[in-house]
Amino acid sequence: MNQAPIPTLPFGRRVSRWFGRNLIRIYAVFGFAYLFVPVIYTFAFSFNDAGKSNLTWRGFTFNNWKNPCGAPDVCSALGNSIKIGLLATITATILGTLIAFALGRHRFRGRSATNLLIFLPMATPEVVLGASLLAMFLAFRINPGFWPTVIAHVMFCISFVVVTVKARIASLDPRLEQAAMDLYANERETFRRVTLPLVMPGIAGAALLAFSLSFDDFIITNFNSGTLVTFPKFVYVSAARGIPAQANVIGSSMFFLALFIVIAGQLVNRKKVR
């Protein structure tokens, strides 16, 4: 097709044509730069020889990475966040997956009411969720703290788990289950050996989402945790006085850990597909 000699365009036209074709890519490069600037900042300032206030650059050091628990209370806050995150994730993933199977695989009365009850917590601002739950705890003379926070986190994670797992169930090829039935698998075997393994990536994704939502939550936690300090609360409280660089170490480590999990998950998936 390209046998005929291509007439060379004048330089200006060529440049403008290149821009026209690649405009969206150039834009995307800027978009990614915007996305990563705060991450790079957080990472860079984890090497800051900061002392008490980590607002201005004072010199390079590995000390913060060598001693991530060096600042007072950072690690106990991190520990609380991880404990709350794990408990909330396990509970919300189980409860949400059960609901997702009911919605994706069964016909029943009250379906649209269920959908509404799943949707509403996601459409309610966090301040309202947090304030209303605390008001109820106080009315029943339950003091805010560790367990009220776990309860609150399970509550707002369930909906996200349901939506994620339901989407996975909906995207399954029905023929796979039919094939299992054709091969004389009974209902239970079909579920255990075909349906569940196929839905598993969705459940794993939902669990990861739930953990990151729980770990990162500040507003609802701030209402229901009382004097208990979680990692986001620690950052918020120390933001006024200057955040110790150890918080940046932990933030950056979380970033790399999550990136690693996601990329490893994708590689495992790709291998399975092959």
Partner: protein, 297 residues
Amino acid sequence: MAYLQSMATRASTFSGKKGRLPYLLLAPGLLWLFTFFVLPIINLAGTSTQTPVIGGDTGQYVQTFRFANYIDAFNASREQFARSFIYATLATLLALAISYPLAYAIAFRSGKYKNLLLVLVIAPFFTSFLLRTVAWKQILGESGFVVPTLRALHIIGPNTTLTASALAVVTGMTYNFLPFMTLPLYASLERIDPRTLEASNDLYSNAFTTFRKVTFPLSMPGVVAGTLLTFIPAAGDYVNAAILGNPNTTMLGNVIDSRFFRIVDYPTAAALSFMLMAAILILVTLYIRKSGTDELV
């Protein structure tokens, strides 16, 4: 949605499950949501019409069904109400403007790097929300690189600062809620059959017309979902305003928070929460009606 329903129908026809099983699956989760979401909201409705106990301690209230609480609360924080909705709208529009081309580039122009780019879009949000917000405070601050650059280019005057301003609050909100916009946009763009775009090309429409008449309408579900998922948390947010703003940029969330914790004025906090929730639900319903996609829920 129709597909999902047909799946559900199919599943129940071939397995014949009808009886109690779905209710057993639903019960624990829905019970949790009922106890820790529905009941607190009902309880909050009760709190919102209470008045202080005469001669009682701070924080002691009694039910008197005083609906004027709502009017008082609204009058006391009219500005914050307006600000919440203006900032949230601005942040949503900015997020849409930033996310759409990004989602488009990933969906149509990224080739084999699609998955990698998708991970890169979400990746920044693996660092803590609070740390990201504080990072913006540093970036826009005096020792960041933005202010000196803009000053050198004479875009801002030598005494203008960017932190502790409405601009900083909106910037932070836009950034923090960006993935909620990008992911639904990407999902709906990715689902577009490339043949529809080819067909539009074959019918002599240029790239712009194809975008306006084919791509954009087909991506509408993503636009609607992304807008809602960004607007709702943005309207209720108070972290950005607290870290990046000044006393003149407080939002409704800040007021609810301080009424609750500092002033221990539960009825006002409850009334404001209710008004915020009602305003958001009304806007969301109108928006969904207007954009004609009921498939969302």
